[in-house]
């Protein structure tokens, strides 16, 4: 697949603080690429460097095969950006805001009108075109922010934490919208510190910590990197010490504990151990009730790789 963004050994320092420490990324055309990391891990700095909003100390950024510089206007023309904070003018209406930002890329009035109307339809702001931003709710504002970034139909769209402080319904709408944009051909870079969102929509993910990529791949590849596997909980009426010891001999079972009527079983590596557990319970005439399976999350990946959670 064609590489859309190539970042090599990117270093950005703020005095003593190293915000990006030899960052390397390759983003292919048609991907939804997730940049996942806790606050302060360097996601927004990386985005700002990509957009040439920030000067960096070392490294190279190529977008669409050309070096990205502040004057690379032919590259900028193909990029859309949705910033973390709502980046619109309070004095303009919804329509005027989208029209203005689209006008920075598309000069033909007729074409622009069509694109603006399409963007309004896309984010569902048709009933609010004459509203000023201050009259919009948080969710609607986020939609306006997205419309301003995508109206000119860019090939590469960067979303920098677009769901911060957004209610669950609006968040789902935004995520669905991003998937739609991707299905229409846009390559997406999505930064977030919400691992669930990244897991939900991204085809490939890079986990950032202290300005470094600590892991990169699909979500399955990332989960395979850690020792922790599936965790299965089974409510039982009773189990003997003997049966519990026997359970540990099932292939893939790393550990089993019984407490308060529940057996907690830790599996090694990939998922798929639940069938074996049920079979074991039936064979040993162990009566059971509710069975729950918990797969490892990206937070577990982060925890294992860094020794801390996203929220730390």
């Amino acid at each position: 697949m064609e590489t859309v963004v190539k970042i090599e050994n990117l270093v950005k320092r703020y005095d003593e603080l190293v915000a990006l420490d030899h960052l390397n990324l390759n983003i292919a055309s048609g991907e939804i690429f997730g940049l996942l990391g806790p606050n302060g891990s360097g996601k927004t700095t990386a985005i700002s460097c990509m957009l040439s909003l920030l000067e960096f100390n070392k490294g190279k950024i190529e977008i669409f095969g050309k070096e990205m510089t502040p004057t690379a206007y032919d590259i900028k023309r193909q990029i859309g950006v949705v910033f973390q904070n709502v980046a619109v003018f309070d004095e303009l209406t919804v329509y005027e805001n989208i029209d203005y930002f689209c006008g920075l890329y598309v000069y033909d009035k007729k074409e622009r009108k069509k694109l603006v109307d399409e963007a309004i339809d896309f984010v569902g702001l048709g009933d609010f075109i004459k509203f000023r931003p201050k009259k919009l709710s948080g969710g609607l504002l986020r939609r306006l922010n997205i419309a301003c970034g995508i109206a000119h139909k860019p090939k590469l769209i960067i979303f920098d934490e677009p769901t911060v402080a957004v209610d669950p319904q609006s968040r789902n709408n935004i995520l669905e919208g991003i998937k739609r944009l991707n299905s229409e051909g846009a390559t997406i870079i999505y930064t977030s510190h919400y691992m669930e969102e990244v897991e939900q929509i991204c085809s490939r993910i890079a986990i950032l910590d202290k300005g470094r990529v600590i892991a990169q791949g699909t979500k399955e590849e990332l989960k395979d990197m850690i020792s922790k596997g599936e965790k299965i909980s089974v409510q039982v009426y009773g189990i003997s010490e003997e049966q519990l010891a026997k359970m540990l001999k099932i292939p893939g079972v790393a550990g089993a504990d019984f407490a308060d009527g529940t057996i907690s079983i830790s599996m090694n590596g990939k998922s798929g151990g639940i069938a074996q557990i049920i079979e074991f319970l039936n064979e040993n005439n162990i009566g059971y009730g509710r069975i729950a399976s918990e797969l490892p999350t990206l937070n577990d990946v982060f925890l294992e790789l860094t020794g801390k959670t996203f929220r730390d």
């Binding site: 957009l51 909003l53 900028k76």
Partner: protein, 384 residues
């Protein structure tokens, strides 16, 4: 020209109302000022009559003729009897000049022409001087006719009155300085209005455009930052010129023909130059001051500068210390330029040089503000 168009949309919604408000207030004040001035000044020339009281104790033929002439050519004042009445009339400013004709005055005068009536005049009064001259002229002329020996008493009286009735026609050919003075005071006051209008227009609009996150979108776009900056600056310049034009039009609307002369032209040039100073100042404020502080800063600069610079109080009333401090206030140079323009009666390079010097100082202020603004922009960019 997306950013240029954006500028006007934002200006319309963030500062236009305030600019109109300032223009309206300024217009009202200037209109009241002009009306007040026009009612207290006359465009033509009208002779003033002195208030004279004549007390004729002689009742001779000559004294009657003399008293009659004085009464016909003055505002006669009735006077009570006694010395106290004379003192009261002068003390209470009821009469400018009092003539007491003593008994036998007519006979004495016709004998040798040297006799004079007793007179009292209001101290430091021009009209008293005119009254004295009128009486003296009558007596001297009458004496001349009598002494010539060719005229009877009646003929002499008729000739004297005919001679003194001759009047000189007066017409005003030069520009009425007091008119331009009133215009000048209004133009001084323009400094306050234009400072407020330009600072509010430019600073508020710029701050809205330069708002952090929206600005980031501009920077991420395929239009260069310098191009957007230039379009915004062009917007600033156009809005400032509109403010300047509106102010000049308002002054013209109020003063009309008084403005259409060489003084009006030079005042307009001075206003235009001062607008550039305000533009530079606003550009700096727009880059330094947060949005919620713009109104306060605008008031401090406009009011403080106007008082210090002599826009509200004539510079002639300012102390030397204040004037020395005021040299750092552009309004001081704006008002000084107006003063210099007003003092010119013949316009040439030599007479204009003091005014041109003041305008040059204002241009230096404008350049200083622009340079400081550019430094502020560079500092902000480096910092971010």
């Amino acid at each position: 020209m997306q950013a240029f168009k954006l500028y006007f949309k934002i200006f319309k919604r963030s500062a236009f109302f305030m600019v109109l408000l300032y223009l309206l207030i300024f217009g009202l004040i200037v209109a009241l000022f002009a009306l007040n001035f026009k009612s207290s000044s006359d465009m033509g020339f009208e002779a003033q009559r002195s208030r004279i009281a004549v007390v004729d104790n002689d009742n001779s033929k000559f004294s009657k003729a003399f008293a009659s002439y004085i009464n016909e050519n003055s505002q006669p004042v009735e006077l009570g009897t006694g010395e106290q009445a004379i003192k009261d009339a002068l003390f209470f400013n009821d009469a400018d000049y009092i003539i007491i004709i003593p008994k036998g005055f007519g006979e004495d005068f016709l004998k040798d022409g040297n006799a004079r009536p007793q007179s009292y005049s209001l101290p430091n009064s021009m009209r008293a001087v005119y009254a004295q001259r009128m009486a003296e002229s009558y007596l001297k002329l009458f004496d001349l006719y009598i002494k010539s020996g060719n005229f009877s008493f009646e003929q002499a009286k008729e000739n004297v009155e005919a001679d003194l009735a001759l009047k000189t026609k007066t017409s005003i050919v030069s520009i009425n300085k007091s008119d331009t003075g009133s215009l000048k005071r209004t133009v001084d006051y323009v400094a306050y209005a234009i400072t407020c209008m330009v600072i509010l227009s430019v600073s508020l609009t710029m701050l809205a455009i330069e708002k952090g996150d929206a600005k980031k979108r501009n920077l991420a776009s395929p239009i260069s930052a310098s191009k957007i900056g230039l379009q915004v600056f062009l917007g600033n310049a156009v809005v400032s010129l509109i403010c300047c034009g509106m102010i000049i039009l308002l002054v013209i609307a109020i003063f009309r023909e008084d403005f259409f002369n060489i003084y009006g032209a030079w005042y307009s040039l001075n206003i235009l130059i001062y607008t550039l100073v305000c533009l530079g100042m606003s550009f700096l404020i727009g880059n330094l001051v947060p949005k919620n502080a713009v109104n306060a800063v605008c008031n401090v600069i406009a009011l403080g500068g106007s008082f210090l610079g002599g826009a509200f109080v004539p510079q002639s009333l300012l102390s030397e210390t204040v004037k020395n401090i005021a040299v750092i206030d552009p309004i001081f140079w704006f008002v000084k330029a107006n003063n210099e323009i007003l003092s010119i009666s013949t316009f040439n390079l030599k007479t204009l040089s003091p005014a041109l010097y003041c305008m040059l100082v204002q241009l230096l202020f404008a350049a200083l503000f622009f340079s400081a603004a550019m430094l502020a922009i560079k500092y902000k960019r480096t910092k971010s």
